[in-house]
Amino acid sequence: FLFQEKIITASFYNWVSAMVAKLAKICTLRISPQTLNFILSDKVAGGGVSMWCELEQENFFSEFQMEGVSAENNAIYLELTSENLSRALKTAQNARALKVKLTNKHFPCLTVSIELLSVSSSSRIVTHDIPVKVIPRKLWKDLQEPTVPNSDVSIYLPVLKTMKSIVEKMRNLSSHLIIEANLSGDLNLKIETELVCVTTHFKDLGNPPLASEDASQDRDPEQMAEVRIDIRKLLQFLAGQQVNPTRAVCNIVSNKLVHFDLLHEDVSLQYFIPAFS
């Protein structure tokens, strides 16, 4: 069986798991020697969202040990209910030490063992056994990092909280939303119904430098790239963002996909919402 153990000194992890819990009810945790990933890959009818969250383990753990299936396949994929993990780590807010271990207690578990600060001399220990499902190697191909498509437009996002409150109001009016942006730093959120059209304009957001030079030369900076998406999926993504990220980029592939690329200190989160078909 696969064995892995890590000890975390900071209780940072709490908000990561809380965020993941908001984004995906059931998610996959991928453990590899360098990184830890939270993966959501919803292939249902091709209309599902995907999420890829990555942490460098050395930034967070004082000790980290793992052993995958084999040397070439040195990774462990676990499926779990994200709320369980976030609830378990919530206990760790006043922890002196935290240990996470993969165990097998009649069924595979991720055991989170927390030593709490205590007034008295004796320590208090909380143990959470989170049931997990070990994902067999043949299914790993569906859980790889999504390839970042060549986007038509790449733009920095406005303050996410503002975006969220706007989208929340729009949600009452329509179930679809059009997100469009150009290379001049303009981003619009649009809804169109029979009775009303509402557009919120964000200006001067700035565009990150594009990877490929050719694409940027040919494109008219004022031209908008748009994609129509399910508003609930966008709202779910925004609801998971409690803190404003260090860096937030939105990549749009016209009429196909919107890709959010966030960086919160040492954690990177990518969220893909396909166009509504």
């Binding site: 002196r96 001399s121 208090r124 220990i125 909380v126």
Partner: protein, 376 residues
């Protein structure tokens, strides 16, 4: 709190006694839940009240029952009560069969609630904490912190004494044979030092309803009292008690017994209560892992005085089926787990109503006898 019917009993001053005036008997509030697996009794000494007027000497003890919902409706919003209510008068009007709750509020506002009551038999549970072999007592705050990691929706919890005389609380889940979504198991381990009294053997354990316990616990925390837990073998009721000079509260909860188990199957063996999670199956090189774990622990700024390896529960203890008996009482509960198995009951407590004789004997009732035991 178990919902249902509260029984108020106001004892008159003892009959026929001369000499120094004897104190009137306390006010008692008792209730039992519909599956008869939880019983609560609160006794309030006359001094608890600003004014206390029991029935006149020579009169019968007044005993009635009222609907809990109606009674609580009078105190609907605790915040409102604390802010605006100056005085509360509760009186029993025998003639019109009404319990009158009158709230005297600020600005001369007076709210009067007339609750109809019914005469009833005495409701008394036969229990005696002194007969329980195990006792533990701790400030309510400690126990409140102990139940914090458990999900609010959790129905049952197992309390036991683990190795090193650590007190262990563990979430109890009924194991469903084919469940694809298993529940998380949480375990909290507290050192003996946090307890004011710990008189129990290692391996002793009981499983009871956490929700009922939380009710008493929140009361005890708000009143800053200590809570003591008296228990015996699994299946025998456990007694949870709070006490101060003016009041005395008891919750008696049924516990799961070994005979509640239907079909013993290997996967139903309860994982042993332990201070640390250690893997058990042969897939692991147990010794290596244990020693590895120990090595890891010492590097993380801890003293060596950790609890040692696990100990199993008392032999023969098997997890019974989850009772889920509280569905009837759960109207007010916000969430019940979807797809809970059909409710199976705790074995009901072995008490029933005791027909009080026409002349109440002046001797103390079994419940009051506890006071004279003078525990602690």
């Amino acid at each position: 709190m178990p919902s249902g019917i509260a029984v108020c009993r106001v004892f008159p001053a003892a009959r026929g006694q001369s000499g120094p005036c004897s104190l009137p008997r306390p006010l008692s509030l008792r209730t039992v839940n519909s599956s008869r697996s939880a019983y609560a009794c609160f006794l309030f000494a006359p001094l608890f009240f600003q004014q206390y007027q029991a029935a006149a000497p020579g009169q019968e003890a007044l005993r009635c029952k009222i609907l809990m919902k109606s009674f609580l409706a009078a105190f609907r919003s605790l915040a409102m009560v604390e802010k605006s209510v100056e005085k509360c008068c509760i009186s029993l009007n025998g003639r019109s069969s009404r319990l009158v709750v009158q709230l005297h509020c600020r600005y001369g506002v007076r709210k009067t609630h007339n609750l109809s009551f019914q005469d009833c038999e005495s409701l008394q549970a036969i229990f005696d904490p002194a007969l329980c072999s195990h006792v533990l007592r701790a400030p309510a705050r400690v126990l409140g912190e102990a139940v914090l990691p458990f999900p609010p929706a959790l129905a049952e919890v197992t309390l036991g004494i683990g190795c090193g005389r650590r007190v262990i609380l563990r979430s109890y889940q009924e194991e469903e044979a084919d469940s694809s979504v298993r529940a998380m198991v949480t375990e909290m381990s507290i050192g003996e030092e946090d307890f004011q009294q710990l008189q129990a053997q290692e391996g002793a354990a009981i499983t009871f309803c956490l929700k009922e316990f939380r009710g008493l616990l929140s009361f005890a925390e708000s009143a800053n009292l200590s809570l003591s837990i008296h228990f015996d073998a699994p299946g025998r009721p456990a007694i949870f008690a709070v006490k101060d000079t003016l009041l005395d509260g008891h919750f008696v909860l049924a516990t799961m017994s070994e005979s509640d188990l239907h079909s013993p199957a290997p996967h139903r063996l309860v994982p042993p209560l332990q201070a640390h999670s250690t893997p058990h199956l042969d897939d692991f090189a147990n010794d290596d892992i244990d020693s590895y774990m120990i090595a890891m622990e010492t590097t993380v700024d801890s003293e060596g005085s950790r609890a040692g390896p696990s100990i199993p529960l008392s032999p023969g203890l098997r997890p019974p089926c989850s009772p889920g008996p509280y569905s009837e009482d759960n109207d007010a509960e916000p969430s019940t787990e979807p797809g809970t198995p059909p409710p199976k009951k705790f074995r009901s407590l072995f008490f029933g109503s005791i027909l009080a004789p026409a002349h109440s004997p002046p001797g103390p009732s079994p419940v009051l006898a506890e006071d004279s035991e003078g525990e602690g």
